[in-house]
Symmetry: C2
Subunit: 340 residues, 2 copies
Amino acid sequence: MKQTPAANRPVTMEDVAREAGVSRALVSLVMRDSPKVSPGKRAAVLETADALGYSPNRLASRLASHRTKTLGVLFLDLHNPVFADIYDGIAEGIEGSGNQMMVAVGSADPRTELEAVRSFVDLRADGVLLAGYTGSEGDLASALRGTPAVVITRELDADGVDSVLTDDFQSGVLAVEHLHELGHRRIAHVDISDWLPYTARREGYLHAMEQFGLEPMLVHSDMTERGSREVMENFLATGTPLPTAIFTHNDLTAMGVMEALHAHGLAVPDDVAIIGCDNIEVAASPLIGLTSIDQHARELGRSAAEVMLDRIAQPGGPAITRKLEPALMVRNSTAGSTKQ
Amino acid sequence: MKQTPAANRPVTMEDVAREAGVSRALVSLVMRDSPKVSPGKRAAVLETADALGYSPNRLASRLASHRTKTLGVLFLDLHNPVFADIYDGIAEGIEGSGNQMMVAVGSADPRTELEAVRSFVDLRADGVLLAGYTGSEGDLASALRGTPAVVITRELDADGVDSVLTDDFQSGVLAVEHLHELGHRRIAHVDISDWLPYTARREGYLHAMEQFGLEPMLVHSDMTERGSREVMENFLATGTPLPTAIFTHNDLTAMGVMEALHAHGLAVPDDVAIIGCDNIEVAASPLIGLTSIDQHARELGRSAAEVMLDRIAQPGGPAITRKLEPALMVRNSTAGSTKQ
DNA sequence: CACTGACTTTAGAGCGCTCTAATAACATTC
DNA sequence: GAATGTTATTAGAGCGCTCTAAAGTCAGTG
């Protein structure tokens, strides 16, 4: 297809300026809603811009202005609704600040995560929020190259990286305490694969078990519903004596475990009590009635956004860690399962 | 491991070039993995780039190259897991193509949606995928300004906008046929608010009801679990004679309806049979056992990505519509609910 | 040893915008 | 009506990169 260069070329500010009989700088001012443009010229510029179908090139404007007003946000996994809650929190937190989000999904793969972070940095995001990150602090710091970051749901010890999370250790403790109080003594924990840096819930569990003088019982799974269902089915197939209660890493794994129990004709909470973590909406539904530990996901997102905006407004200073207290939400999956 | 020099001004290609004793153009070639750079210079450039903590400015490179290799992807709502499936499909579809995703969430608000689309266009995304869009075709076309787009889950009649969807009308028909076959005659439909342009499922329902000579029964809700729960509770409170079966717009609304029934001591499927739509994982779980209509969300995403890549490779040509056949997935919420 | 041609490297003109500083235009004041 | 502000407008120098075309290299040829 041969056409004159001018024919198919997208409309630029220059074109609008020429057509409207003003300078490019004036058009720029109009596009940025500058108050120092006379009403007359403003109207004229807007009109011809519209007539020519002008669409500002934000790449160019960002390059020239050294300002992007954009936050890169990385999510661990879209399948876990807890991240939808975090998203809502972030959206709430940046509302009115004039910032935009740039979203990516890491899929619990450190390489994908780092690539996403690098992409944010290369596109000069003003800051990066990581709603779940499974890689190492060193890799993250080197990918960030000084861009401020806030890690959500995890505590990270790296320069210029703030953390906003719920006290996961305490969640583990709460779960065990709750089950212990109901009379359970054989309490198992289904965690996620050990290479992932999300170990605090397990540690809290182990700590509390030890405090109570109970024998811990660990089963390794992954973060998904399906995965933990399979893991649990394999476990049941081994014929190992059953625990009377299970604390799982999160609600999705709890559901998988419940499915496996269900398939084996075991009743919850009568045969086995279950307690999850995250307090996601579907699990909280009366249809499932899963007892869970609320980690205040939405608040986490809101708070992380707040920390980031502060950090951008006032760079430097020591890394901040904000830790929320988890909250036990008792529902059918443990209620009335007294074992004493 | 490398420490970024605490320079006020970020490191540019120019700096690397000077330090390495080569031209900026050479550095550019190295950064783009050009094969026409001698191994010696390549190594030297990479080394000093690393030493200086150089991070390429993708804004500048995109501006200069007129190429972004980026697809904007808009999601209707992160709370509905069907979009996580679509995401996976898109990721699969663009794998290996060298393209990146730029994600935004519309939250079923046409203004937010359009702003996101404009943002994609202004950042010169090569194409835009809309996984759910609630606005008008006119607004979309004008925001796109010629950028190719694919709408997923909806059929849109606009220039340069392709559509990839499941036959929603057919889904409505399938649902009614299934229920009718089980002997149900009083079949209600819970849809989503009427201003949303997602009416095909309802129309399919209405069509099938008419074919069977049955009286339709419509209840308006929204797209959420909570919303439909409330709507259903209000409905139950009115004392209107109950239908024996309900087809809901999607699985989330189905769950809300089930919760309301549950709260009123009504059994599913014995008192009321339920059938949803989308076939999301949690609803398919044995814990819920919701009969649903699979719309092949992941395949939708994959296919949309494919259409977009083709469109980018070969611009022009008439708008494409790809329509998949829905598939009925029978589970407990309707199974064995014979009303004959 | 000037002359290829294949391979490397570079100068320099953009990409489309913003920003600073200067200029123009127009009220005010004395 | 010259001096003084005030407010609008513009010229022009970047922003950090890519790209084209031209210029160097450096064998191998005849």
